[in-house]
Symmetry: C2
Subunit: 349 residues, 2 copies
DNA sequence: TCCGGGCTCTATAACGTTATACGGATCGCC
DNA sequence: GGCGATCCGTATAACGTTATAGAGCCCGGA
């Protein structure tokens, strides 16, 4: 069907191997021949058949990024970075959606896609340390995010304890005392939110504020709807919170929605902080204060580690902690800037 | 490295071809042999080498979905649907980010990825009809979205004229007269917004409202920031709009942000409608009225058409128009429901 | 004159799979 | 009992690439 090496070889009057060498630059080729081959390649519009190449080489040039939710902007933004980095290194990045399901994550871990991808970047949320340790597949693996630690694989994640400590400390510094946490995991402690809760507790302890379990609202997942429900619950408490740290920006936005809907003023009555710095939070009403991880660095590092392993790097697993910083916006602002800037003329009513 | 057909054949004491037939079910195999082979497969944990299979079959089982922005929730939600459908049909969907760049779109069109994907679903935004017509690659192609029409390829998109007509008519029905359009393309008419503007004009004409060019704000792209800038501009007009139809939900959300920031009440002073029905609009403040295309149907149809073509379907190109419907929320609500539902006790200040 | 040794280039054997053509049973039927 | 038809399997040739071994050739040195 397509143009193959053989066609080029024929046209240029050389052998298959020579064409291959011109295309790959694996072995030197004489200048005259090189040019003749190159011309044939251009004329016929040859592109290598990757299946064949990969069959021969044993590698496919594809890597997968498995994330719990395609529709979570945090992961979309992260994937964006990762795709660019992968392309720069000559790899194509495939996105896999685990839907935060245990089965999906395990399947990927054990290499269902073996032979189609050279390596996997996984953000585990439904599986724990033991499952990762039990994995049999030898395909290179890099973990990202706060799901699983202490396993013999490269790992890239911000310091989640420090991140939530920073966010909580910010609320404390604003004079808030009843600080709630929205988006705790529903039960076991294998999950990520654990670390974020730890940071939250640490910051409270430093400030001398007693930890109040009633202010911790757990959620099934970490989407907008979950944050909204949790916040609604918190508003029913006898003495509701005056601030909220959310597990991530999405739950924070859900919380904002619940607050607005209930007529609670943000930040006047309740201040809100999220984690992730998704673009949505820069345009929400009010805009969202958040902890911004260096997504670019996370995406790049994860891809780089993986590619290094694929290309044979040995050595002990590395654990990278990209930087993060607090971004102050209206949801914790000293004063919301919602007052009209200037008079608008011409409205009805 | 991995377990291959040969290993299975050896262990089960049969030929390669028989193992292949068991695995594929291409030709019937006797029950006894079948079981023996199956057992060997299970014991050794065999998974077919896809590169080899694809080399032989001439197909890879990979299809690509090329979208202008990974981080646009509309496309993320669409991709989510498409991935599921593709998986159900035995294909793996690869996401490509064109970044709305002409070069990227052309490269994909001309089959840079030839040999790695069997077909392409493309949402063109930077290229026009001529470029699509000029394409040489023979790989199956399905177009989605409102970018390019009248080309000999399968196409899936809602009726954009009708969608924006519906949205505009809704604003008219609410008694609005100065209805602005946010998110017109920056100049030429090759682009999609053209159709949406046409629907907008049609609805105005039906209502007997004169078209006012000053109320059409063009933007470079169609993100939140673009909507915000455009809206800010509209607010400087001598007689500003009392309603806004935005090109999509993202620009609508940008507009909401600009309005809130300027102290303009939504929907009291200005009503806002978007198109896309992204989840974000269900949680924004105020929540966003929008035209909801049947994303599930768009994703499914596009994948199905593509797979049909890959598997040899001939016949004239089809043009599918999935359904859409208007979703009324607070941003056009007769009365915003932001009043407190019940008294919240316990706030400071 | 002959030989070792760079250079270029070629011939060919894999890589793991599937499709085709064929071989040998077994069966039904005259 | 002979004959075609029907099963069930097998042997083998691709698919397009790359790595390996080696073939010519030219050159400098003995």
């Amino acid at each position: 069907m397509g143009v193959s090496l053989k066609d080029i070889a024929q046209r240029a009057g050389v052998s298959l191997a020579t064409v291959s060498n011109v295309v790959n630059g694996y072995r030197p080729v004489g200048e005259r021949t090189r040019q003749r081959v190159q011309q044939a390649v251009d004329e016929l519009g040859y592109t290598p058949n990757l299946s064949a190449r990969h069959l021969r080489r044993g590698r496919t040039g594809l890597i997968a990024l498995a994330i719990p939710e395609l529709t979570n902007p945090y992961f979309a933004e992260l994937a964006d970075m990762a795709i660019r980095e992968a392309a720069g290194l000559g790899y194509t990045l495939l996105m896999e959606n685990t839907a935060a399901e245990r089965g999906e994550e395990l399947t990927l871990l054990d290499g269902a896609q073996r032979h189609i991808i050279d390596g996997l970047i996984l953000s585990p949320v439904a599986i724990g340390r033991e499952e990762v340790l039990a994995r049999r597949a030898r395909m290179p693996l890099v973990l990202i995010g706060e799901g699983v630690y202490d396993v013999p694989y490269d790992h890239v994640a911000i310091d989640n304890v420090a991140a939530s400590r920073t966010a909580t400390a910010h609320l404390v510094a604003l004079g808030r005392r009843r600080i709630a946490f929205v988006g705790a995991p529903p039960g076991d402690d294998r999950q990520s939110a654990h670390l974020r809760i730890r940071g939250y507790r640490e910051a409270l302890a430093v400030a001398g504020i007693p930890f109040d379990l009633r202010l911790v609202a757990s959620t099934e997942q970490f989407g907008r709807a979950d944050g909204e429900h949790a916040m609604r619950h918190l508003l029913t408490l006898d003495s509701p919170p005056d601030a909220v740290l959310a597990y991530n920006d999405l739950t924070a936005i859900g919380a904002l929605r619940a607050l607005t809907r209930a007529g609670v003023r943000v930040p006047d009555d309740v201040a809100v902080v999220g984690i992730d710095d998704i673009e949505e939070g820069r345009f929400s009403n009010p805009t969202l204060t958040t902890v911004a991880p260096d997504k670019r660095e996370i995406g790049r590092s994860a891809v780089r580690r993986l590619v290094a392993r694929i290309e044979g790097e040995q050595g002990p697993p590395t654990h990278l902690q990209p930087a993060f910083h607090l971004v102050e916006r209206e949801s914790t602002g000293p004063r919301p800037s919602v007052a009209p800037r200037r008079r608008i003329r011409g409205y009805r009513g």
